[in-house]
Amino acid sequence: MDLSFNEEDLAFRAEVQDFIAQKLPAELADKVRLNKGLSKADHDFWHAQLNEKGWLAPNWPKRFGGAEWGAVRRHIFEEECALAFAPRIVPFGLAMLGPVLQKFGSQEQQDYWLPRILNGDDWWCQGYSEPGAGSDLAALKTRAVRDGDHYVVNGQKTWTTLGQHANMIFCLVRTDVEAKKQEGISFLLIDMDSPGVEVRPITLIDGGVEVNEVWLTDVRVPVENLVGEENKGWTYAKYLLTHERTNIAGVGYSRAGLDNVKRIAGRAMSGGRPLIENPHFAARVAQVEIDLMAMSTTNLRIISKAAAGQAPGIESSLLKIKGTQIRQEITDLTRRAVGPQALPFVSEEVESNTPLPDAFDAGAVAASYFNNRKLSIFGGSNEIQREIYAKQMMRDAK
């Protein structure tokens, strides 16, 4: 047992801190901290800073332009970025599609798409879910029919995060209706500027528009945009999901969130004293902090196994469940901290003409609480994570 990071890790942490201090503008960090909603330009800017340094794709192999860090470094990087309120790396191209193309894509696809992801030439979004296919993803119905050297695609995707910024969408489509559910699915790259693609925004209860419906009507997709083999898409989709699960615990976000709660509760007053000195509130904060201490170590235990060459397998379900519970608890504490000042609310659609009161410099805390309900719903809901783990345990017992 050795609970400390080694010299190299510590030097790396310092380097990351240094980089962020130089490259992350205070206004951008404030936008993240205050949950103000980032523009496409904000994301593009931060991606460009990271790309210049070679840090935009922490998990990609070096030969594709990635940083090829092990799990511990990645953890340090993610934690420092979160603590500094850097914009998160938009995962769709970098964390999701990239690894799939590297493993299953053709040489041409790798040569063409991967540099474009790094350079920000394309903004990708994820077209998996459909109205009838959420937890049961394999029930998806979007149809792709071969017609000469094109596929003709018809159907509807939904919950497409940041689809409004995207010019490309990777989709799971059904290419064989006769086969078993999982066996008739293909993985297709679709240009969103093609005729027949329509993006309709969905407003969430936080007032923000971050998800969309994507309607596909007779969209013609060149066959060279098929990834891997026809009807093997489910395998690629599952491979992608294991990558979606890196940083699933979100320990960095929790630490940043907890710092933020303490800062706000140091400003908010209760009975003439800072709220953080109120025993009930302090107890709530302490409980989450204790959970997070444990989580941080649980996370490191699990990911350092992966660093030694073992893939983080089924334990990632445990990280997802507890990690999201902690993050959601922190958003709950944050809205509690500001008391009646949680009410003021702006929606992206109706811009407020008056500045909202924000006496504690807390930002949109109720919106953030509502928005983060998503953490236990997407990426495999927490119920599905329990299902996965429970089934494995019962199998192991036999």
Binding site: S129, G132, G134, S135, D136, A139, T158, W159, I202, T203, L204, I205, G207, V211, A268, M269, S270, G271, G272, L275, N278, H280, F281, R284, Q328, D332, R335, R336, G339, P340, Q341, A342, L343, P344, F345, V346, S347, V350, S352, T354, P355, L356, P357, A359, A366, A367, Y369, F370, R373, K374, S376, I377, F378, S381, N382, E383, R386, E387
Partner: protein
């Protein structure tokens, strides 16, 4: 013991539910016409109700409707204070007049007695925060301190301030549960005295407003349960209704337990609204603490069991869940009322 509604209240409930189901146009006038505002005040006050159970019936129905109607802030709370100040509330009951109470301040959090706004004679200076319904009010009731220090129960008075009074500034914005609130700033504003020593009247009116808020929240909770029950039987994944997964149905039952506990608390609080101040406040504090806890469970679990659809503004469930959550930020939250309950129990 009898937990049934009286015939009158049953009729009020039925007619209000029917009205709200199809309500459009000027809902405020419609409610006044139905006698809903009058039901919040006693006969001596000019109404025909005014008991805790009258309020509970009215606000539970409002909570079931997918509407945000500031009846607490523009009628009940200021109306009770007007009555306490010897004013008639005929205009209010008839729907012609609306008022709002500008009381909360940034440093006060949920402390009723924390008032820093100053009164020099009848001229007021200070900053009031998150005043719900301020823009829609014809005039404002403003609390200010004429003596003592910020947290004293003594020394707080109430004044009436005209909306066009020089030195009054109102900056409005949307609020999360729907509707609007405002920052109200007063600089040497001329005002008309309403109550000189208002501490105990404020406490009484706030007790009623808290009861109303809880009843409203209960109505919304019932809708969330009904919608989730319905959704679990209709939404299919893996070739079967998701209501066949015990992981969900058992949790729905836990939600129902929480709602039934909340319902009992509304009854308890309503039944003690006219009791002596300490008994009344003990029951209100207990109820509001429980509501904070139950409300969180109900809103979070019902969203979760709906999946993504539960998070959308277009689908009613999310809007109800949002109102339930924000209810914890009004008239004292879970922790505030826990502390009050402990203090009142020990005193």
């Amino acid at each position: 013991m009898n937990f049934e509604l009286t015939e009158e209240r049953q009729m009020l409930q039925d007619s209000l539910r029917r009205y709200l189901a199809g309500a459009e146009g000027d809902i405020w006038a419609g409610l006044a016409e139905l006698g809903v505002i009058g039901a919040l005040f006693s006969e001596e006050q000019g109404g025909f109700g005014g008991a805790g159970f009258d309020m509970a019936v009215v606000f539970e129905e409002l909570g079931r409707a997918d509407l945000t109607i500031p009846l607490i802030d523009n009628a009940l709370l200021p109306g009770l204070l007007m009555v306490a100040g010897g004013q008639d509330v005929e205009g209010l009951i008839g729907g012609a007049q609306r008022l709002a109470l500008a009381h909360g301040e940034t440093a006060a959090r949920y402390d009723l007695n924390w008032v820093e706004t100053r009164a020099e004679g009848n001229r007021l200076t200070g900053e009031k925060t998150v005043v719900v319904g301020a823009e829609d009010a014809d005039s404002l009731i403003v609390s200010a301190r004429h003596s003592g220090v910020a947290c004293d129960e003594q020394g707080i008075g109430l004044w009436l301030v005209a909306k066009d009074a020089p030195g009054l500034q109102i900056r409005g914005y949307d609020i999360a549960q729907g509707g609007r609130a405002a920052e109200v700033s007063l600089t040497d504003v001329e005002a008309k005295p309403l109550i000189a020593e208002a501490g105990s009247e404020l406490a009484k009116a706030f007790a009623a407003a808290t009861l109303a808020e809880m009843a409203q929240c209960l109505g919304a909770m019932d809708i969330c349960v009904a919608m989730t029950q319905e959704y679990l039987t209709t939404r299919k994944q893996f070739g079967r209704p998701i209501g066949t997964f015990q992981a969900l149905t058992h949790r729905l039952v836990d939600v129902v337990v929480a709602v039934e506990q909340a319902r009992s608390m509304v009854i308890l609080a309503a039944g003690h609204l006219e009791a002596d101040a300490k008994t009344r406040d003990l029951h209100i504090a207990a109820a509001k603490n429980l509501f904070g806890r139950s409300g969180r469970l109900v809103s979070e679990e019902c969203i979760q069991m709906h999946g993504g659809i539960g998070m959308t503004e277009e689908y009613a469930l999310g809007r109800y869940a949002k109102r339930i959550t924000m209810s914890d930020h009004r008239f004292g939250d879970t922790d505030h009322h826990l502390e009050r309950f402990i203090d009142l129990g020990a005193a």
